[in-house]
Symmetry: C2
Subunit: 494 residues, 2 copies
């Protein structure tokens, strides 16, 4: 009898991947902490720590040992979990090993420093103080892009990190189809605006927080596994299994916190409902940024702005804000939260203007990378295009080019996935409604479990098992397609 003492290569690989997952868990906690909890003066020391951690995780992953294990292992059957694990690991390893660990560390450190600078710059509405940090980020991105000389366009090297298999040419084609339609919808609306004055409150912050919790609990939020905090820029994260964290931003002048909370819930529930067997593996997260955004937009818009949802929740909302909503009927309220209201802030935008906010950012990112726009010119160009696309006068940089934190943390190439997410959300939604024809009546009774279970069954549980385009094909039978989204907008807003 021979006793096999050596660890099988797959088990050894899984053990290393579990360690990498543990380090990613830790990075996620550092990031959450920096954004939610850390005293301001801790930023520089935190940037050092995050940089070291990211660099060590990278070194560990691109090690010769992983190379040898991947060499030793077959591809596995394509449609098995093991096959998916190897596919995802190989893809990430091929990409990661191109990037020097020093650059990985420098990027993590630059993010920590630039986000603190962005925070100050936004508070002072002073783009000039943020400019050097953006220039530094662009310089790092160019070094990063150089690691992928085969990319069709420089932008594609960045986009691939968020959206596997997507190119900037494909994004441009989708956006070219959307842009004139969105502009036309906004123009049509200008002649017949919905009155949204009733959405200006005041809505006491504590009551907004209580209303958000009420909605979250109906959706499936439980204190055992979830938490929600306030941050200037809302986000969701999952450090590890059983630990889902949302943030929101509450302002007593509006009810945007409700929608941003439902948005982040969508990210959270996607992560929460991934097959538990994928924990501590590269399959343990969502399929891509656009698939993730499709789910946040589903819960924010397709659920959270639906007539059914408000038929259930409006009476409760009114009880939370008796004085502000006393004279506002349900119909009137639903019309107001669905109104097209061109404004300066992406995060507060309605479903139609939102796309133009994204298209603006995508265009600017392409131009910044090409050098046809330099950071110094950004505020002027930003403001001019906001006027051109949305008819909006940008009052200052804080509500203009400094409004989003993304560029400060090196997220260049990420923005388009938001709008792709909108497109995909409707593709999946149309399919869900075939199986759940009375989903809106369920919402009207406060029942969200059937939708959640359908989404878990068809999307969430697979985590990162399939590339995003393949997942979309499996769920909807179609590739990325802007037409269902346009049909949805036309039906809703015309």
């Amino acid at each position: 009898m021979t006793i096999q003492t050596a660890t099988a290569p797959l088990d050894r690989l899984k053990a290393i991947l579990a360690e990498i997952a543990d380090l990613r868990h830790t990075e996620s906690v550092l990031d959450w902490d920096a954004r939610v909890s850390m005293p301001h003066a801790g930023a520089r020391s935190r940037a050092d720590a995050a940089s070291t951690l990211t660099r060590l995780a990278h070194e560990r992953f691109v090690s010769d040992e992983v190379a040898e294990l991947l060499d030793d292992l077959d591809d596995g059957a394509g449609d098995t979990v093991e096959g998916a694990l190897l596919r995802v690991t190989r893809r990430e390893w091929e990409r990661s090993r191109r990037i020097p660990s020093e650059l990985v560390g420098e990027m993590a450190q630059a993010n920590g420093i630039a986000v603190a600078a962005w925070d100050d710059a936004k508070a002072a509405s002073d783009f000039t103080s943020f400019r050097p940090h953006l220039e530094r980020q662009l310089e790092l991105k160019h070094r990063y892009i150089e690691c992928f000389p085969e990319a069709e366009a420089p932008y594609d090297a960045l986009l691939e990190d968020y959206e596997e298999g997507m190119t900037s040419a494909q994004v441009s084609a989708v956006f070219a189809r959307l842009k004139p339609e969105l502009v036309r919808l906004i123009e049509r609306h200008r002649e017949d605006p919905v009155d949204d004055a009733l959405l200006r409150g005041p809505f006491p912050v504590a009551s907004q927080q209580a209303a958000c919790r009420r909605i979250l609990e109906a959706f499936g939020f439980r204190d055992e596994n979830w938490r929600i905090d306030e941050t200037p820029h809302p986000f969701a994260s999952k450090p590890g299994a059983g630990d889902i964290r949302l943030t929101t931003r509450t302002d007593e002048k509006d009810l945007n916190s409700l929608f941003s909370t439902m948005h982040e819930f969508g990210h959270g529930i996607y992560e929460f409902d991934i097959d538990p067997a994928f924990a501590r593996t590269p399959l343990g997260g969502g399929a891509s940024s656009a698939i993730h955004e499709s789910q946040s937009r589903t819960w924010e818009n397709l659920v959270g702005r639906s007539r059914g949802f408000w038929h259930w929740f409006y009476p409760e909302l009114r009880a939370f804000f008796p004085s502000a909503l006393r004279r506002v009927g349900e119909e009137e309220f639903v019309d107001a939260v669905n109104a097209i209201r061109p404004g300066a802030i992406r995060g507060d935008a309605d479903e139609v203007t939102y796309g133009l906010h994204i298209i603006l950012r995508f265009e600017l990112e392409l131009e910044l990378l090409a050098g046809s726009v330099v950071p110094a010119d950004l505020p002027e160009i930003w403001n001019a295009r906001m006027k051109e696309y949305l008819g909006v006068d940008v009052p200052n940089d804080a509500r203009g080019v400094l409004q989003d934190m993304h560029w400060s943390i090196g997220l260049i190439g990420y923005f388009p996935t938001y709008q792709l997410g909108n497109v995909i959300s409707v593709q999946i939604w149309d399919r869900a409604r075939e199986d759940l024809p009375d989903v809106e009546e369920q919402f009207a009774r406060g029942e969200f479990t059937p939708l959640r279970e359908w989404l878990t069954e068809h999307v969430y549980r697979y985590g990162g098992m399939y590339p995003p385009r393949e997942l979309l094909q499996r769920v909807t039978g179609s590739d990325l397609d802007p037409e269902p989204y346009l049909a949805y907008l036309h039906a809703k807003f015309e």
Copy 2:
């Protein structure tokens, strides 16, 4: 001309030590997060992440590269920062390399799991459910102790991690001197108890939090660098430079939160005032646990229970709690917060009974390690000795053997440093008062900066530069000596 391209060994060593410090920073954030923020269900995945991180930090530190660098470097002049850096690094390296990285990882993981179990067990007052976790911790401690066969006693191998150069025999000698004196003071008090009924509130929680902030701000707490949260077991931590975190526990039935907040402030200010040049080096923390505790006890007791302090703060406190304190005069209040009140809970104990709580734990730890007490017998023995030493009937395990989290996170050998801290606090205090004869009058005017500056000048700024006994010698001209502490207690309580 020769160009030196290789990094000098000292610079290379410093770079590795900075990485280790970054990983410790990260461990500290993981720990803080688990205790303050993490949803309960995240505990198991967090235990994995913490275990991996701790193991990687250990592997990195005990690497051959560090061994070679330490070999290449001279000892450096003893009293320079560089000499201290090498001394501390060598000592830690010599100790760390004895311990297998696997054991380090297992210990970190056991801590994460056991602390969650302790939390549940304490809530249910059910020692039985915690017992297997304590048994596991003891088993791990025995494996750890085996790595140090030269230790005079098994306990010494653990104690050395918290208190360099201290042995259990020395602790036993100090405690043998203290124990009968403390018992005598308590017995004397029994015949003439101070009325402390006036300290039973109710004291609304929000007002306690506001009062704590008022005190902290007078002491030097600033939002830019500090934060304070609520946890069941108060603690202080410094993930990195500029980031000091305290926690407290507020109960409307008493004012203990004020004292526990001042206690944690003492830990925080010590860390905050360490020479900034020591950041990301092994000198960047306090000299030892006992020196640390001496400072928390200084701010809690020597400052926070002094007549001067209350002469300043009592009028404000009364304004925070107008109904509970309406009929209570300043003298009466100061007598009450200084009363000897034997009770079940260490964290709420007065200055005299506190020492017996510690002595009980030290004795039990020695016995648990020797096997003369087994975990199953702990509740019974605990309760019997509480009756014997303090005359206290322990109502249940939650207020008995389960009250402290220490054993759950593997802190065996740590408790005695609390009482050594009390002893040292008075040694340093006596020296401080020679230079600051009117310190109590300063407190009475709300001035705490002179004391803080004296402590920073003589103690805090040195961080980990000197071994604790040497630091004590430098500050006070004396080794560890229980007599000043006993003189203080006798003067105060007789």
